[in-house]
């Protein structure tokens, strides 16, 4: 039988505001439990929510970036259910008027439609201690602003899902609204999956999978659940509509029977928050303030700088890296050289030091000057790499560094010729080996010449001189 997998995604993204959605508690990750909470986010009697303006701005920008129609009035609703990590026993969310609707995100060969995207507050964290058989509740996370992005069931493969998540991640990072780190929980993804016979127009019964903590887990989960459902159906069974937990260790999805159907959330408009009408000018300013998004930036770099799709893709993969690249080129570096050095040495150096692109200590000016030293022949590439490593952390000017350490390439023709002569004289065997056809001997002679010059010779020149002399 020919089966087709149909997937829709619900993604929760933590917004990187300094404070929570409805109170001024800090959102800093990793604080000691219950040190970042107040009467509002712990649902004390008499406490009231007040909307965080910055979170709203972030939400609006995200809606634009995902090509949504942005709601002109911002309204919230209460989603009511009982659970210990939800101190008010309702979550302030948006059902009736999500901030953005009817959007889309391009994932290369396909466009994924976004049904809606809305703002809501996060719940606290339950920490189970098996030893004492008690569960603690940490409210630090409670009230952190989230956007939830719900797609149409447009995905057909796990690869498409991952492509979407990657595109979503880099788009939101570009906006600066979230760092989208799945491992830290700032990007969470629930997968709604069903299967049907190819050609069928109706959707099969779907399950919802939670607890996916990496893109790889998403791939595995999609593959597993798709296979599981097909097996069930092929053996004559029925799919139960339920929530399943992905177990990374066992690499399977497990039914969460028991976290049952409190499905009637009794949504009603949040009376403690006044509907906010967005003035068209305000919205226009936010829209104009949007940075160039990854896809557009990649296309522009390919067009304007003649970069390959691969190179442009690598560079725009992180906004800070793309910014660094463009600033370097703006200072006069050649696009190709800058691209090569950034994709090569810069990324290597970052990785070695376990730094993010945002934390680059090297400045575009420093790289541009270094590249200029190479381009003008004053230092060779080997020297350049050494200089790069030396100045990466310190912020020293490469020209000064080269000058102080006397690393300038020797280009003096007389000195070069003299040295070449000396090397040839001192290595007669190699000369004869080369003349006898041993190519390796040439390399040896180049090496010897370079050594004699302390490595500071222009290799192309040395090469040329040797070839001339040896005939």
């Amino acid at each position: 039988m020919n089966w087709e997998t149909v997937i829709g995604l619900e993604t929760h993204v933590e917004l990187s505001t300094a404070t929570k959605l409805f109170c001024s508690c800090s959102t800093t990750f990793g604080a000691a439990p219950n040190t970042q909470c107040c009467p509002v986010c712990t649902g004390m009697p008499g406490a009231l929510p007040v909307l965080n303006r910055r979170a709203l701005e972030f939400g609006i920008k995200a809606a634009f970036a995902l090509n949504c129609t942005v709601q002109s009035t911002v309204r919230f609703d209460r989603k009511n259910y009982f659970y210990p990590d939800l101190p008010k026993a309702y979550q302030i969310s948006q059902l009736y008027h999500p901030i953005g609707v009817d959007g889309q995100l391009n994932i290369g060969e396909k466009t994924i439609r976004i049904h809606e995207m809305h703002l809501e507050e996060d719940a606290g964290k339950l920490i189970h201690d098996p030893a004492s058989k008690r569960t603690g509740i940490d409210f630090n996370r409670c009230g952190v602003p989230l956007i939830e992005i719900v797609t149409e069931p447009d995905f057909r493969t796990g690869d498409e899902v991952v492509a979407y998540l990657e595109a979503l991640k880099i788009t939101l990072q570009y906006l600066g609204v979230s760092d989208c780190k799945m491992q830290e929980g700032s990007l969470r993804c629930d997968v709604n999956l069903s299967v049907r016979l190819k050609g069928s127009k109706t959707l099969g019964t779907r399950t919802e999978m939670k607890n996916l903590s990496s893109f790889r887990a998403v791939l595995k989960a999609v593959a597993f659940e798709s296979r599981r459902q097909i097996e069930v159906l092929e053996s004559g069974g029925r799919i139960v509509q339920e929530t399943r937990r992905w177990d990374e260790a066992q690499e399977k999805s497990i039914s969460m029977r028991g976290k049952e159907n409190a499905n009637d959330y009794r949504y009603f408009p949040e009376p403690d928050l006044v509907p906010v009408t967005l003035a068209p000018e305000y919205v226009a300013v936010l829209r104009a303030d949007l940075p160039e998004l990854p896809a557009a930036r990649k296309a522009r770099l390919m067009r304007a700088h003649g970069l390959s799709g691969y190179d442009a893709g690598m560079l725009t993969g992180q906004r800070a890296l793309a910014d660094f690249y463009e600033q370097t080129v703006a200072l006069g570096a050649s696009p190709k050289a800058a691209a090569n050095w950034i994709m090569g040495e810069v990324l290597r150096a970052l990785k070695e030091r376990d730094l993010e692109a945002e934390e680059l200590p090297l400045t575009p000016m420093a790289l541009a000057r270094l590249l200029d030293l190479v381009a003008s022949g004053r230092i060779n590439r080997t020297t350049a790499v050494a200089v790069f490593d030396a100045i990466f952390d310190t912020g020293e000017d490469p020209e000064e560094y080269v000058h102080i350490h006397g690393l300038e390439q020797v280009s003096d023709l007389e000195l070069l010729t003299e040295t070449v002569e000396r090397v040839l004289t001192e290595n007669p065997k190699s000369v004869s080996d080369y003349r006898a056809g041993k190519q390796k001997a040439f390399g040896f002679l180049v090496g010897q010449t370079m050594r004699a010059l302390g490595g500071k010779a222009n290799p192309q020149q040395v090469n040329a001189l040797l070839r001339e002399r040896l005939g």
Binding site: G46, L51, F82, P87, Y90, F268, P271, D272
Partner: protein
């Protein structure tokens, strides 16, 4: 010194002039409380030491707050959070909850040099019209201890009536300031929705609740209102409201146009109440106001719309009381469900449970449209009706309640009947308008009757002026319950 007939403003003047110390005033009030608390149960918590501390500190301070009520001892309803002082909204479920923060109005109170005598008894979570549902026993009406004082701010009204405090802060969601004020022969005002911050008010119905003063006179109410109005960044529904009510208070109401909705004087209204309330029109007319009949047919939607919306919001507002983070936690539970069920079944009284269930029902799938949505539409109709009337009139005159205070124990067995008694007060909350209740007479049994004046949004000055003018020419507000217990 006998302060029985001293208004809050007058006392403030005496203290400012140095003729009386705050400590003496506090001692006077605490003595009254000691005498009357057993018989009327107006207080849930008496903060004797704190009150004396605050009064003495006030007296000793070189730089005293200049507010007209500085140094005047007062009390607040127990649904207003007071930092460090037990606040339980008369509910077992909050147990010995001590808020770690002050309500906005308490901050204002402290800044103005107020002296806190204690927390006042009320209906549990402000749900009720008789103050009989408190976990600490019912409040009794100082005019007749076998009768209820009204609710839900029954303790506040009773305490003011019995001279146990010089003013009180109550709250009003469907009449909970106005009705007990009427049944206890004192003056109370519910401000425009949003005029007073709800931050720190234990929520019953978020779109209806407002904190307001209960005192002996309209003038006192004006002074207290000045103290508590104004935008608070912690309450998104609070608005900018100017607090100059005392300074701008006048008894000149010439030309004021007063409408008397016929529907508020129909069947079901006690004859004596009708007569006394209509007599208010005469007094105001004598002072130059123009009074005429008008129509408010939409009145009949008030009670059903109110109970649906208030209970719906309450069902969500009270969902946080689960015994997990604060309040009373039941013993011996073995699962999360058991914990929730035990906390809430044991912790909430029957009226609170009734309203939570009702509210949950009207919000549930399949009923939301028929009940909640429909109630919202009725609310809009009511709002528009008042807006229409306020294009022609400056104020409306209505009764506060269809009867005077019933006897203890007579109301709770018929909740629906009790709800219907709110018909004159709830539409005002639905429309978010201000309204005042003034004493306007007594029934044959000597129980007080109140009249309600309703104003347009932010019409508190007009309301207070009219009430003040009325109180110039009448003395109902000066009568005191007999000191029977003495």
């Amino acid at each position: 010194m006998n302060l029985s007939d001293c208004s809050a403003v007058a006392l403030g003047r005496l203290i400012r002039a140095g003729e009386l110390s705050a400590a003496e005033a506090a001692r006077w009030a605490l003595d009254r409380i000691a005498r009357h608390q057993k018989e009327n149960n107006a207080f849930l918590t008496v903060t004797q030491e704190l009150a004396m501390e605050q009064a003495l500190a006030f007296d000793a301070a070189k730089d005293k707050p200049s507010h007209p009520l500085a140094g005047v001892p007062a009390a607040v309803k127990d649904n207003i959070c007071t930092k460090g002082i037990r606040t339980c909204a008369a509910s077992r479920i909050l147990g010995d909850f001590v808020p770690p923060y002050d309500a906005h109005v308490m901050e204002r109170f402290r800044e103005s040099g107020g002296v806190l005598l204690g927390k006042l008894n009320m209906d549990e979570f402000a749900m009720g019209s008789t103050s009989e549902t408190s976990c600490a026993g019912p409040v009794r009406n100082p005019w007749n201890l076998e009768h209820v004082p009204g609710g839900s701010s029954g303790g506040a009204a009773a305490a003011v009536a019995a001279g146990e405090c010089f003013y009180a802060l109550g709250s009003d969601t469907g009449g909970s300031i106005r009705q007990p004020a009427a049944w206890c022969g004192v003056t109370g005002i519910k401000p425009t929705y949003g005029a007073v911050s709800r931050y720190g008010l234990i929520a019953y119905a978020s779109s209806l609740d407002q904190i307001g003063p209960i005192a002996r006179t309209a003038e006192d109410c004006a002074a207290v209102l000045d103290l508590i109005v104004g935008r608070d960044a912690r309450d998104a529904t609070s608005v900018n409201a100017e607090g100059n009510f005392l300074r701008n208070l006048t008894d000149d109401i010439r030309g004021l146009r007063i409408g008397v909705p016929a529907e508020c004087f129909g069947d079901g209204l006690d004859d004596t109440v009708r007569e006394r309330v209509l007599a208010v029109a005469g007094v105001l007319r004598d002072r130059g106001a123009a009074v005429e009949a008008c129509a408010l047919p939409e009145l009949k939607y008030g009670v059903p719309a109110y109970y649906i919306l208030a209970c719906a919001e309450a069902s969500a507002n009270l969902a946080r009381y689960d015994g997990v983070r604060y309040g009373r936690r039941p013993e011996g539970v073995r699962s999360l469900d058991e914990l929730y069920c035990a906390s809430r079944s044991e912790g909430f009284g029957p009226e609170a449970q009734r309203r939570i269930l009702l509210g949950t029902f009207v919000l549930s799938a399949g009923f939301y449209d028929d009940y909640y949505q429909r109630a919202l539409r009725a609310r809009t109709v009511i709002r528009k009706a008042y807006a229409r009337l306020f294009r022609r009139y400056d104020l409306l005159l209505t009764p506060v309640a269809p009867t005077t205070a019933p006897g203890l124990g007579e109301s709770l067995s018929d909740p629906l009947k009790m709800y219907l008694g709110d018909l004159y007060t709830v539409p005002v909350n639905l429309a978010g308008l201000p309204a005042v209740s003034v004493p306007c007479g007594f029934d044959n049994g000597g129980l007080p009757i109140g009249a309600q004046l309703v104003g347009p949004k932010h019409g508190e000055q007009t309301l207070l002026n009219a009430a003040h003018a009325y109180q110039r020419d009448t003395d109902f507000h000066t009568r005191r319950p007999k000191e029977a217990a003495l």
